[in-house]
Amino acid sequence: MNLSIVNLFNAMPGSVAQGLIWAVMAIGVYLTFRILDVADLTVDGTLGLGGAVCVMCMINGMNVWAAMALAFAAGLLAGLVTGLFHTFMGIPVILAGILTQLSLYSVNLKIMGKSNQALNVDRYDLLVSLRYLRAMPPWENTIVICAVIVAVFIAALYWFFGTELGCSVRATGSNGNMARAQGINTAFTTVLGLMLSNGLVAFSGAMLAQYQGFADISMGRGAIVIGLAAVIIGEALLSRFGTNFAFKLFSVAAGSVAYYLVLQFCIWLHIDTDLLKMLSALVVAVFLAVPYWKGRYFTKPTVAKGGRRDA
């Protein structure tokens, strides 16, 4: 076996770039999973949707920024569909997400016309690409561009969730009952949160398609697990250092980069890459179990002080 340290270091810029691209996606997952307190499975379809829209727009001569903006808008629409399934039609949110995800499979096929579409870096003016990792001026270096994009999103979300509207979305996820009692239309805020989340995921898909030079129908498979892994790893690594909202979003981004570095390390160790998805799923499962186990097996019983929840 060839375990050359040089190989590992050569692969690192690629991992960091991928981690930063997926960070945008993971931040989207954070919005639903942690702020709205729902697990939105739409994202597996939305990532591919963003890639498909971006690639097809660029093939048809659109500017890269316009193509990415359209991908974001397509993501908003996907979130709207899941949101309406859930709030207007009363479908449980997990099922609503699965329904949208399934329909997006057809939508993505129709957008691309076939199951994959290439985007040649030599023929199109791409924003990010695995060819732009080295020997580029900083303002064209993919890692720098991705880092700036992540920072801009974090800043924008930090601002938004401090506004009246943003606070009402947070209140909805924290306690829907209280939110309604304070005059918040929780159906609206839930839909809004789902839309924002899916917009970010589609934007991430647009970046990913450019980076790898193609979009394909299965690029979003298991995306939710990678997003959750990033959220959980970020919290495990950094939550003790701060509770500021912007810092929490930064932790998610850091978690995503950490995930791809670990992945790269596994590949470098020649672990069978067929197993990687299963390993990711197991890692997420264990981390999700930790708070449950803590509560169940490692808590000393204390006398409950007046909390009749079920009365």
Partner: protein, 262 residues
Amino acid sequence: MLELKNVYKTFNAGTINEKLALAGIDLALEDGDFCTVIGGNGAGKSTMLNAVAGAWPVDMGRILIDGQDITRLPEHRRAAYIGRVFQDPMMGTAATMGIDENLALAARRGARRGLRTGTTRKEREEYRALLADLGLGLEARMTSKVGLLSGGQRQAVTLLMATLKKPRLLLLDEHTAALDPKTAAKVLELSDRIVRENGLTTLMITHNMRDAIKYGNRLIMMHEGRIIYDVRGAEKQALHVSDLLARFEQSGAEANDRMLFS
């Protein structure tokens, strides 16, 4: 002010668990009425308050506030008129948000929420003064997450939230029942003070008959989804717990242990 006209509500209609919870409620509150509500378990007290708040649609009848029909208005739009404190201290506040943020959410009840700052510096100063007024030391913990507070503190904050923007109607649903006796008494005193200072029209459910007599200017007793006794003014002040128990027995209701001992 508040009018309920022949309001009916059945839960689980058509199933083995069918329960007629409200069986033709007629009630008219005057402006400034502080009305206590008593009755056994399952008498329909909470159901009546939830019908007014709009937790679900009623089967029949009309509900009016200031002459305006709100029967078909969704819960979040009725909130413009109504302040609520729940029995469960967890229910009235957002645990993962700060005390100041919770108050700011309540201050915007009934207003459009846009892209202005969620909690301004100016209103933080107001909240500091209001919290200091509670005498619980919360003014020093403005940005603490509400989840870190005790049940009594949370109920006090919820009470402040319900009345921060003066509501047309205040609904208190056994809001001291989950607290220890000392804290319960404190929160009840606070409620009474806020209601009287602001002249709020109030419906307060309680299991404690002495409290029901002591507070407010009016008392109603419920049994099996109906109002079976409605008394106000001097007549109400002259009531004794024994009178209420006699009423209970007359109606065929069994005064349960909790009422006897409280």
